[in-house]
Point group: C2
Chain length 329, copies 2
DNA sequence: CTGAAAGCGCTTACAG
DNA sequence: CTGAAAGCGCTTACAG
């Protein structure tokens, strides 16, 4: 079924049919109604492909997901995808998914070179980001979910730094002095931001951080075990996990060592998730609205594609959830 | 840059240019070379949209992911997506992602009605699957990742049932008599299959299962805690988690209760993942190759689209990893 | 308010 | 081996 068949059937021109469907251009109510009832009847849907060719808009965007993401990040990306696809659908867009790594962006290049997308959403930012460089060079509209220093990049992000500053300073104000931090891959911008917020929190509280209690690039169980034991030996007041998975590993370690939270040790997380939500005791953490992040990134990209004005850097809010795990007994 | 510009520049017809690029039809080596060197020079890539319209093939497939998937399933889907997108790229296809739930398949309907895909991959099967019904009704080529009873559906799946049979019977042969099973949502076909395999394992070993030790639809920590305590009180020999997340919850519970694995209790999982991989002690489990599953589903769909003969039901193998958690001390 | 025609960027019989 | 032409299913100035 094409627009031609409909025109023939209804004894009008396909121009008119097109206008009835798109709502653009002058058309009488009666003919529009005739067309609409007919196409509903036969369940006609215009070919998005033909529309693309005629308008040179694909009505597609690409979502680029890091291929090497570990289980930590999955709830984040899942929720993100949900936010993106639901907002995209609302604006009549569809979403391609492609996986890239820090070194291999061929999945992204495919989408762009084949002219299959109007714009791209980058799910994670790296230091020295190849995807960003490629998209800028090829003048493809794109928005990053996550922050970057690269000039001129439109970015939407959780205010990780602000949240970490707030949570850290609150912990210090509560009287917890020796705060330890365990963090992941420091080439991920999000992790360096959280570290920055941690340090800012000390500044705000007027306390000098003990750098020896900060552990970045902690990957794998062995490293984690060792660090937690060290921290225990150093009798720190509180261990902060930079994300929910790290925090989870910390909690498991403490259980194994027979350390009770919060009696013997306080624990907090710079990111909340379902993983932590049902923990016993409940865990103090930062909470971000990831679905909203995905939606906002999507509308920002769509606005950018439409040539509308957009915020160069849009930082979404956070909540600080003070729970049992940092309660002073 | 279009095929027309190239033709003009090279003083040949666009037919010839098209032939040089596609490799179809007779063309002299010399002209092909001229064209190819030129398009490489200017970095030309044909418009996939225009090609789609001309050939009425989109070179796109849709991957349908369950929106209500919890964290349990994420590593599975991530790996699946990786397998699908990398295989698709190899065959020059791209992948749309859409999220659906058991009740709302509008994301899938969009893709199909807009004629944006040549076929669809269903990431999960449900009992009474709306997506399957819709795709069958609209004669859209599709392949399910996961099993279904619906007539005529092409399916690719891990041999969950076979694996569960094997693992269960091995445990019984080892002399573990009282096996308990904790499983998730029984409306997911994969879970009923695993339950079936568990029961088959008893049959194979010639043992009658104790139905009171089988707990399905276990969701949430409270339920889990209660069940584990019950099983402990009933002095079962071994607790099997139907998936890695359930197994993980079981292990956490046992640690909390001060029960040592495998000394005081054996534990096994019907699904392996990175979650379990680094556990101390190592956990006996079934291991499936999910990336291969994604790739196989993708090639099957592409074959189906091409009108090639495909297996109606393709069951991929499994490995049984007997590890420390079921060792008899 | 409506229509004929050109165009979007390709492919592919058909003819030579 | 090469090219002119029609066609894929739409949109959109332009003319009426």
């Amino acid at each position: 079924m094409t627009i031609d068949d409909i025109a023939r059937e209804l004894n009008i021109s396909k121009t008119t049919v097109s206008r009835a469907i798109s709502g653009k251009g002058r058309i009488s109510d009666s003919t529009r109604d005739r067309v609409m009832t007919y196409i509903n009847e036969i369940n006609y849907r215009p070919s998005a492909i033909a529309q693309s060719l005629a308008t040179s808009k694909t009505m597609n965007i690409g979502f680029v997901m890091p291929g090497e993401a570990d289980i930590v990040d999955m709830p984040f990306f899942q929720t993100c995808i949900w936010g993106i696809t639901s907002m995209a659908a609302r604006m009549d867009y569809d979403v391609f998914i492609s996986m890239v790594s820090a070194t291999d962006i061929s999945g992204l290049v495919r989408l762009v070179e084949n002219h299959k997308v109007d714009g791209v959403l980058l799910g994670r930012t790296y230091t020295n980001d190849k995807a960003i460089a490629y998209l800028q060079e090829n003048k493809v509209p794109f928005v990053t979910i996550g922050s970057t220093d690269v000039e001129g990049v439109i970015q939407v992000d959780n205010n990780d730094r602000g949240g970490c500053t707030e949570l850290t300073s609150l912990l210090l104000f509560k009287g917890l002095k020796k705060l330890a931090l365990i963090g992941g891959n420091s080439t991920h911008v999000v992790n360096t931001n959280r570290l920055g917020g941690f340090l800012d929190g000390f500044k705000r509280a007027g306390v000098t951080p003990d750098e020896s209690l900060i552990h970045m690039d902690v990957t794998g169980m062995y490293m984690m075990d060792k660090i937690v034991k060290d921290l225990l030996a150093q009798r720190v007041d509180c261990i902060i996990g930079m994300d929910d998975s790290i925090c989870n590993a910390i909690l498991t370690n403490l259980v194994r060592e027979g350390i009770y939270v919060p009696q013997d040790m306080k624990v907090a997380s710079f990111f909340n998730s379902s993983m932590l939500e049902h923990n016993q005791p409940s865990v103090t953490s930062l909470k971000f609205d990831v679905a909203k992040l995905g939606m906002t990134a999507c509308t920002t990209l769509l606005d950018l594609i439409d040539g509308k004005e957009v915020l160069p850097r849009n930082l979404l809010g956070y909540e600080v959830l003070m729970k049992e795990s940092t309660q002073i007994m």
